[in-house]
Symmetry: none
Subunit: 122 residues, 2 copies
DNA sequence: CCTTTGTTTCGACATCCATCGATCCCTTGC
DNA sequence: GCAAGGGATCGATGGATGTCGAAACAAAGG
């Protein structure tokens, strides 16, 4: 396509309203908008490779993991990168570059919100 | 920080562990098999229409809903049926025919299990 | 039997998406 | 400046998936 890299599409790191979407799924039917937003988060965990990457980050010492620590999930490196990007876009992970390596960590509020929608609070 | 409990392998006290799959995502990385299983459940909620249908059933009076009660989500009726089937295959819903109508209800244990995988991240 | 109404299945189609190799970008070290 | 290695992006591709209309199936009533 284009080599026009001047288009400002999305600001770097869309801050995004992180938490406040949606009551427990049992409380009332979701609106179309709410469902659209929320489904993105569930869809992000709806792939086996992404789910593994997510649990690798979530369970990693210090609550964060370098890409090099979690790249052994049976797919190529570009694919790993692609999935991490998806998880990031869904708001489930954040990333930070420190020197040579890029570290990913879980966004706790978002994941907690998903859990609450499923009624895990009992 | 709280618990470093030894994990009780696989048999004691599983009152209604209808879902044999998987500890909280923070506890340890999922295996490929576990991820495959679990991703199916999250994927089922990863579509806006399915998520709406699910919340319609979950929040409906009596804990169940007839297809005719929840068919107004903006897609054709065959599509509704297709999505309900997907939710059923994922183990999130069950169905029962009573006379003319078919009623769907939530499978609580499965949903609770999903919530627990996410809930301990707070 | 035939008709009506609720629900599922079938076939077809367009779109999305996971995956890869190749390539490019970034940082560090020589 | 240049080489090396970690990560991200690009372009292509095969397979999965959401959607619909038409048709089939099931139960209830005339």
């Amino acid at each position: 396509m284009s080599n026009v890299k001047v288009l400002p599409l999305l600001e770097p790191e869309a801050p995004e309203a992180v938490v406040p979407c949606c009551p427990p799924l049992t409380e009332r039917p979701l609106t179309a908008d709410e469902a659209e937003k929320t489904a993105r988060m569930f869809k992000a965990l709806g792939d086996p490779v992404r789910l593994r990457l997510f649990s690798l980050v979530a369970s990693h010492e210090g609550g964060e993991a370098c890409v090099c620590d979690i790249s052994d999930v049976g797919v190529s490196q570009p694919t790993v990168s692609h999935h991490l990007k998806k998880l990031k876009e869904a708001g489930l992970l954040t990333s930070e570059r420190r020197g040579t390596w890029v570290y990913y960590r879980v966004e706790p509020a978002v994941v907690a919100a998903m859990g609450q929608m499923l009624g895990s609070l009992g």
